[in-house]
């Protein structure tokens, strides 16, 4: 059978083997000892031709309820936002997506400059002077921030709010095992971090305090008060995970004195795609610049004085420092950072605020609507585009009924917080229309009333 990705002809093969001085290609594998050789054929599905495979995968895709066919109120860290057409056109340019890491700056200025621009925009949004080229996702970026705070302060205790994304907390816990950190979770009360417990736990062994802003329940935590508490423990680092879209409207964590700000730019131009790949960001102070995990792009000049960009401060990284590196990260999320850059450029200075406010207005409209429908809204404090409602009965059952009506309901909080049985986290993005909201509320009322 012939394969369209393999260009060698029989003649080519003969000529090449003659050059090598080998009878056949098996000879080239003769160094593999007989007793570890794999004999026979790998038992995989038979090769599919392009037309057949496209059909097979389209059929498989059609088995899934997707966010373009259903009206979704599901968020909890992954959001259904509008993606401008320009995004996919740019990231489909194969000079970008078929390139490797820009180690040869002379032929990689495009990627390098795009990353430099990404770093600048993340720096602007977070209010931090330094941002890196990207991390795998918001969760692992947060875990890297935690490990950095411990390495930097030479302390072992980390305070993590339970209003931080449950899966990010799970990742923090996994990453903390390596350096042997003690993770102390701070309770949430009505969807906000318990600052009294935080104050009690905060001591001279605390390396970092981890907050999310807006938090997992959508609420806007008082970062100013947290900063004041932290200030009592000189070296302790203030780590904030932040939805960068919300920072189009909210005061950035940098202005509240955060030491490290991380998050996920999925909200900008990256589809949900079942949870990945998304794109983590990592921003920090100038003081920590030489400790940042991952790649950094810096501006410089060439021999003729022309401006250009290079990977820089590489002495932090695994390919130079090996076991002494800040982190083991190598591959990052460059293409998704590019998608987010295009989306951020498209929104621009004003669009980003407008989009953030659209989310807030629509979420507030829906919250009022639900209250009018006598559905118990739990959230009382300030929130961004997510809030919590309480239902009688299982959220999973209600979501199943909603799905039959063409809706993807909110996140079942009992999955991560057993004490919040019956509570649903609802996300409202700019894509949800008044009509969708009204219908959803009515359907939910009907199902719930039954």
């Amino acid at each position: 059978m012939e394969f369209r990705y393999l260009p060698m002809t029989d003649t080519d093969k003969k000529v090449m083997l003659a050059t090598i001085g080998a009878e056949n290609t098996d000879e080239l594998f003769s160094d593999i000892p007989v007793n570890v050789r794999f004999n026979g054929e790998l038992q995989l599905k038979k090769p599919a031709n392009e037309a057949q495979l496209k059909k097979e995968l389209t059929d498989l895709a059609n088995k899934n309820a997707n966010l373009t066919a259903y009206s979704s109120f599901l968020g909890a860290g992954v959001y259904d936002h509008f993606i401008p057409s320009v995004v996919d056109h740019v990231i489909s340019r194969s000079e970008f997506y078929t390139a490797y890491t820009p180690y040869q700056p002379e032929i990689s200025q495009g990627e390098l400059q795009a990353i430099f621009e990404f770093q600048t925009m993340i720096s602007e949004l977070t209010g931090m002077p330094v941002a890196n080229s990207s991390m795998y996702d918001g969760g692992t970026a947060l875990a890297e921030a935690v490990n950095l705070s411990a390495a930097q302060t030479k302390r072992k205790k980390i305070l993590v709010s339970k209003a931080v994304h449950p899966e990010s907390r799970a990742v923090i816990t996994s990453y903390a095992k390596g350096p042997g950190l003690e993770i102390v979770e701070i309770e949430q009360v009505n969807g906000r971090t318990d600052l009294v417990q935080l104050a009690n736990e905060l001591d001279e062994n605390t390396a970092g305090v981890v907050m999310q802003y807006p938090n997992f329940f959508g609420q806007i935590e008082p970062l100013n008060e947290v900063r004041e508490l932290i200030d009592q423990q000189k070296k302790t680092m203030f780590i904030v995970s932040s939805n960068p879209l919300a920072l189009g409207y909210l005061t950035p964590p940098g202005e509240f004195g955060a030491d490290i700000v991380v998050g996920d730019t999925q909200v900008f131009g990256i589809p949900a795609q079942f949870g990945g790949p998304h794109c983590g960001y990592f921003a920090t102070t100038s003081k920590l610049m030489r400790k940042v995990p991952g790649r950094l792009v810096g501006q410089t000049t060439d021999e003729d004085g022309r401006r250009g960009f290079v990977l820089t401060l590489q002495a932090r990284e695994q390919h130079i420092r090996r076991d002494k590196a800040t982190s083991n990260i190598c591959s990052n999320q460059a293409l998704n950072a590019l998608a987010s850059s295009v989306a951020m450029s498209s929104l621009g200075k004003h669009g980003i605020k407008e989009m953030a406010m659209l989310n807030m207005h629509k979420a507030r409209y829906m919250k009022d609507k639900l209250e009018q429908e006598n559905i118990d809204v739990v959230t009382t404090g300030a929130f961004f585009n997510e809030f919590v409602i309480k239902l009688s009965g299982s959220v999973a059952d209600i979501n199943e009924a909603l799905l039959a009506k063409g809706f993807i309901g909110g996140y079942d909080l009992a999955q991560a917080y057993p004490e919040l049985e019956g509570q649903m986290l609802i996300a409202v993005t700019e894509l949800r229309t008044k009509e969708e909201i009204d219908t959803f509320v009515k359907e939910l009322g009907d199902i719930h009333g039954r």
Binding site: Y175, G308, E354
Partner: protein, 485 residues
């Protein structure tokens, strides 16, 4: 004549231009300050650029033209497997039923996605010969760390807490010792012998009851198959350690040998290398891990399993090392890899390795006439040359790499592995034609001639690129990491 710098987005920006088209506000405006104190409302707008749509497109199109990918030309970057990225992969990854599904949807509403993931796990088990696979790790380095954390958990579950050391060969990728360190181990180096393979005597010397694992790439970073792999497995296993397989070089042996049959206990794969998920300018990748039966309980959770014709995420795994990444891994990249595996099948994947190895050996034989070949034997999918003859003429490997840019090629990996002086690490991949290989070889031979007769031309290269060599020293000494007005 001075060439104008290519402007930054921010330099193109002009007050009042827009490029966005957002849904309308079709609900009554809420009083946003009702629940939010003024101090939480941003006063300084983030200084994002203001551009029209065409200006954005011109900007990024311009940037793309200042970049070089596999679609632009030959990219023989050793250890990175820069093979062709099939276009069907990109198309299926954009089907709304895959790209627009949420990780927290009811599993019954995403069975198609889970079926694909399950089939991919099954295929990877077969290709590697491992007992179980998790698709959760985001990239190779995260796969390494995940694997080491499982090994750590395994030893701890046996009450074996003295195993603090992970052995890596001197030729290993930098991520190996870095991952060991992040997982809380000390990285210990084992030397290579004169054949470029792990020195068994040195391995016996460093291995002990404090050995948690030996991390190996096979074929190794010199492109050589570790022929004494079974002996190494025995040495490590007898000492109570585990054997870790770095899948960076799997492209050499698919259908010829499987890590599971060589005695490896944990494997990670780089789906963006061997299985054509594009490199994306640095990512995203995907780094699934495969394990033997005794390590299966420690896999990250949740684990995707099939129960009575239904796919479920099993989170009830008490011995699991926990989550290594939110959600279920880089689904979009896994889907591309699956599409590739479905295109090739078992027969096709074996041909992939056959041609990857044929191409590398062909290039090696033609190039060894001018460049030192430190380990003269059949290589696998890549080989390492030394530029030490050229260095005597004053031409460094870096110069050769830069000169290749003038010929329109991406250079090989240079100065790696560390145990070869002035190293040039070349990996052609199976998707390149003989004509392309010959073109590159001719360029290399021509540069070797230039080194003898006209070294300045090589030393001062590149001559044809849009920028010349960069001042990296100043970039690191006085870092400018963002644009400021």
């Amino acid at each position: 004549m001075a060439v104008k710098d290519f402007p930054l987005l921010f330099e193109r920006s002009k007050e009042g231009r827009t490029s966005y088209s957002l849904p309308e506000l079709d609900v009554p405006e809420a009083d946003l300050s009702a629940d939010l104190d003024d101090s939480f409302i941003r006063t300084n707008a983030p200084d994002l650029p203001e551009l029209s749509e065409l200006e954005i497109i011109r900007h990024y199109t311009g940037l793309s033209r200042r970049n070089y990918g596999v679609d632009s030309g030959f990219y023989p970057l050793g250890s990175c497997t820069m093979k062709y990225n099939p276009k069907i992969n990109e198309d299926v990854a954009r089907l709304p039923g895959f790209s627009h599904i949420h990780p927290y949807q009811d599993p019954n509403s995403v069975q198609g996605a889970m079926e694909m993931m399950y089939d991919l796990q099954t295929a990877l088990k077969e290709i590697t010969g491992m007992n179980e696979v998790s698709l959760q790790p985001a990239a190779g380095a995260q796969g390494e760390w995940t694997g080491l954390m499982m090994i750590r958990a395994f030893h701890e579950a046996n009450g074996d807490t003295r195993r603090t050391k992970v052995i890596v060969p001197d030729s290993a990728h930098g991520t190996n010792p870095a991952s060991a360190s992040v997982a809380g181990f000390d990285a210990i180096t084992v030397k290579s012998n004169e054949k470029g393979l792990v020195d068994l005597e040195d391995l016996k010397r460093v291995v002990g009851d404090d050995t948690a694992a030996l991390m190996l790439t096979n074929p190794n970073t010199l492109g050589l198959f570790e022929t004494e792999i079974l002996e190494m497995a025995e040495i490590v296993h007898d000492a109570g350690g585990k054997l870790y397989y770095d899948g960076a070089n799997l492209n050499a042996i698919m259908g010829y040998a499987r890590p599971g049959d060589m005695g490896f206990d944990v494997v990670h794969l780089n789906l963006h290398k061997t299985f054509t998920g594009p490199h994306g300018g640095g990512g995203p990748g995907s780094g699934p891990v495969g394990v033997t039966e005794d390590l299966t309980p420690f896999l990250p959770r949740p684990l995707l399993v099939k129960q009575d014709d239904k796919y479920v995420f099993d989170d009830d795994r008490p011995d699991s090392i926990g989550r290594v990444k939110p959600y279920y891994g880089n689904f979009g990249i896994n889907l591309r890899a699956y599409t590739y595996i479905r295109t090739m099948g078992g027969e096709g994947l074996k041909k992939v390795s056959e041609y990857a190895v044929l191409n590398a050996n062909y290039m090696m034989h033609r190039l060894e006439k001018e460049f030192v070949l430190p380990y003269p034997q059949h290589c696998k999918h890549e080989f390492v040359l030394s530029g030490r003859n050229q260095k005597k003429l004053g031409v460094r490997t870096l110069d050769i790499a830069k000169r290749l840019l003038d010929f329109g090629y991406h250079p090989p990996t240079i100065y790696f592995p560390l145990n070869v002086e002035e190293a040039l690490m070349i990996e052609p991949t199976e998707t390149e034609s003989k004509e392309t290989l010959d073109g590159f070889i001719d360029a290399m031979l021509e540069i070797a001639e230039e080194a003898k007769h006209d070294p300045e031309t090589v030393q001062e290269a590149p001559h044809t690129t849009i920028v010349k060599r960069m001042d990296e020293t100043t970039a690191a000494r006085k870092p400018i990491l963002r644009y400021d007005k």
